[in-house]
Amino acid sequence: MKQSVMIKGNTYGITVVLDPELPFSQLKEEVAAKFQESSGFFKNARMALAFEGKELDSAEQMEMVSAITANSSIQVLCVVDSDKEKEEIFRSKAEMVQSAEYNPGLFYKGTLRGGQVVESENNIVILGDVNPGGKVIAKGSIIVLGALKGNAYAGISGNEKAFVAALDMAAMQIRIGDTIARCEDGREGNEDPVPKIAFVENGNIYVETICKEVLNDINFA
């Protein structure tokens, strides 16, 4: 038997598929019956609702929603439109706003000296050295195109997928997320510096020479 009303669910809400052949009044009754049946299953879930199969105008949507809430204890948060045209407009507008706010990070040119701090909500690229006592703090990752001899705190909001890379890695302290590593005692700079990258794996900070294999293995957000 063909169902005139079908309920499909996902994590965030449910889609009610309506048979386009049937008149609205009948569909409403069917929906009411269906939700009454399954009210024990949904309990007082809060969810978004979408209708498919038949175009409903605003008044009909309202009637449908009240039929559902009357026959179950579901709280309908919103009705999602399945109108393709509208969706396209919403999408383009939303992306426009996002791209205006989209800020991949911060460039700092020059030597970051003792006592100086560079901070960003995103990633930071330092075009120069970070001297002892200098601090780079980022919610994202940190790249130093020079010698990193100071402190670098990446992923400070707890992002363990952030990384710290430097052409000459001689950091006093590296923090990634909540993991901290400090340099060995008594170590004095690098004789022949090679570019290195620091990342977190299994709760430890690893510092590796940058090569294809290492970069392939790293997964960052």
């Binding site: 030597t111 003792g114 050295d129 002892p132 006592g133």
Partner: protein, 263 residues
Amino acid sequence: MSEVIVVTSGKGGVGKTTTSANVGTGLAMLNKKVVLIDTDIGLRNLDVVMGLENRIVYNLVDVVEGNCRMKQALIKDKRYDNLFLLPSAQTRDKSAVSPEQMKKLTDELREEYDYIILDCPAGIEQGFKNAISGADRALIVTTPEVSAIRDADRIIGLLEANGIHKIDLIINRIRMDLVRRGDMMSNDDVIEILAVSLIGAVPDDENIVIASNQGEPLVGNSSAAGQAYMNIVRRVLGEEVPYLDLDSGSGFFSRLLKRMGLN
């Protein structure tokens, strides 16, 4: 066009006062009208190094507070008529003067002098802020030691933050025998860390101690340090002067020349 130069280092005991005395005297030797200001209020000693301690009547704080006129406080040097010293007060402290007052004072001196050299106290507190407030350029003095370099780095950052971008480095008390053995940082090492231009390196020379104790700056005499200071003075004036061969062997010097584009 007069220029206000602050001689600073962050760390104490690296040779700010000696450098101020020698650079100031050297500029006077080359017929510039120079005034040296000791901004280390409470711990004055530029007057001692200059051998002018016995002539002090009024001081910097007296001028700022209006107890005397500028002319009364300025001490004329015993060797050069165009060299003057404004000594600091011994019985007061740094808070006796504000950065605004220092700026006003240096601006007043600009009208009559070619070079105003400010001997800055150690540290980064009030005394430092006072000293840099009126400065156009800075000479950073450091020794090739990690602690002095750390402080110099910090100072350079503070100078840049305060809008002083003409910064030159003097590496003091370098010992080539130690550098050769790898027991002391070379000029190149220091420049690489601090990333500022070198204006001169002064060898560790016992004549400096003797000259300081006698109150006679040794700039321009035949000693290694005297020569090195004279070269710094010429470079302050904008001349291109080749670097002294501190190292009788090769290596460091030729590398340095190459670095400076003089070779």
